[in-house]
């Protein structure tokens, strides 16, 4: 009886995995299709990748997506970290106000944030393009960075910075050498969230950009109408990029973990001597 239940459970999970991964596998397989059918596989070829490589819109889409994600991640991580540290030293009213305002872009539907920005940029007569796209991305990334650093700061000893300064450190040194290393895990996860939010965004980008500056999502959306297997090739590039990123991240965090453990063991051994 129990055995049967376990098999049934495993089977249901198997169905779930098929449901979640079939579209991804389908995309990758059909990006190597020799014919232009989206449904029948007619032999292996890389012609859709060649077609993608010669398509400026697609290549620019990939480049813009990466450039915007990198800059937005960097700026939002720096600003978010400094703001979060400042907030942890501020009074509660200010902290609550900023946290409430940060909730707005996170809780509002994307399309509401998006049309707000669209009207805002046009009210100021800022031409939509790379700059507006970047500003929009930084705007929706910062709240996530702050959100992921705040809990780390809360568990930090509030006197730490003061102790460092009593020992003669300048405020900047106390910040860089004492506080920031302590909240580093929060900063890293904040940066990761910011990067993926920016990399995957469609709705806000779609409304905030113009002048032919498109990211991958917008390229897929505007090309969806025609049967175009090079979209599958573009999708495969995205899938490969993300998979590699995830694997690298996991490998590096595993290595970091091991190094930290070794360091700790060494310190413990020294302490015993």
């Amino acid at each position: 009886m129990k055995q049967k239940k376990r098999i049934l459970g495993g089977f249901l999970m198997f169905l779930l995995v098929i449901f979640l991964y079939a579209p991804i596998v389908y995309t990758v397989v059909f990006s190597f299709n020799n014919t232009n059918s989206l449904t029948r596989f007619g032999g292996f070829s890389t012609r859709w990748f060649e077609k993608m490589a010669s398509n400026d819109t697609m290549i620019n889409g990939i480049i813009y997506t990466i450039v915007i994600a990198v800059i937005a991640t960097f700026v939002s991580t720096v600003v978010g970290t400094l703001t979060a540290i400042g907030l942890s030293k501020s009074n509660r009213i200010l902290r609550n106000c900023v946290e409430q305002v940060n909730q707005l872009p996170m809780m509002n539907p994307d399309i509401v944030t998006a049309i707000g920005l669209l009207m805002f940029f046009s009210a100021l007569h800022i031409e939509k393009g790379f700059l507006t796209l970047l500003l929009a991305h930084i705007m929706f990334c910062i709240p996530y960075v702050i959100l992921s650093i705040m809990p780390k700061l809360r568990s930090l000893d509030p006197n730490l910075a003061e102790a460092a300064m009593d020992l003669g450190a300048t405020p900047i040194r106390a910040l860089v050498q004492v506080i920031i290393p302590q909240v580093m895990p929060g900063i890293i996860s904040g940066a990761l969230i910011a990067f993926t939010m920016s990399f995957d965004d469609f709705v806000i980008s779609y409304f905030a950009t113009g002048n032919g500056v498109n990211n991958i999502s917008i390229v897929v959306y505007t090309m969806r109408k025609r049967t175009n297997p090079s979209i599958n090739a573009l999708s495969t590039v995205v899938i490969v990029l993300i998979t590699t990123g995830l694997i690298l991240y996991n490998v590096f965090s595993a290595i970091g973990q091991r190094r930290r453990e070794k360091e700790e063991a060494r310190l413990r051994a020294q302490a015993q001597d």
């Binding site: 459970g9 029948r40 399309i111 944030t113 049309i115 707000g116 920005l117 009210a123 405020p171």
Partner: protein
Amino acid sequence: MKQFRRMTYPYIVWALILIVAPLLLIVLYAFTTKGNDVVTTKFTFDNFVRFFSDTLFLKVLIRSLRVAAITTLACLLLGYYPAYYIARCSETFKMKWVLIITFPTWINLLVRTYAWIGILQDDGIINTMLGWIGLGPFKMMYTEFAVILGMIYNFIPFMILQIYTSLTKMDMSLLEASSDLGADKFQSFLRVTLPLSLPGIISGITLVFLPAVSSFCIPNMLGGGQYMLVGNVIEQYFLSSGDWNFGSAISMIMAVIIILSMYITKKVDVTEKGEAKRA
């Protein structure tokens, strides 16, 4: 700590300009008429009256709510068992399963949705396979079924992860206790497991319902250009017809409905917790 406190000033200015001001603009536009760049300051309810007096818009609104509700319910029903299964795995398998469930959400939503077009087409993979056993072909693309399927596909991981998080905190010996006290499996589930997973269910519902009700790329890609949800109407008013005032009013109505429904869900959560404490 004055030096550190000063570090918040740039962001406060930034947030007022790029978060608060655009939202105020939406309110301003929603209560005025005519003029995209030049804002008239004549206060009016016309946009809201127009929305609620036109059955076409009401139909779209009801359809959006219905589609989002079906999606949320389906995610809950289909996602509960996997969450339960993962929560009862050993630690190493837990991490692996969580990675398996999370991975698709890292891939671009547009990319994942585009894949379904080829799968659901009239001569697509599903119809080809159904053909082998002599069924079909069924028309799936450009139907409400395709839209709901696409939404379930994109949002179900959030539901599973939320329920899993609350289930994994549960003390498994509670189940033993309830069976010792004479409850059968079903009763234990209904009286112990389900109430304890309620916080996860609630946050899962918010995480699915919210994007589902406002989505406009999934209905457009899988439902076709004629299929309209609230998000599509807003998109049209902003990017095609250019009536920003009316578009703002529609998005305000949508935002209010979402905020209200989240408020109610939270309230249910609080009262349930209060009752559990009393019992």
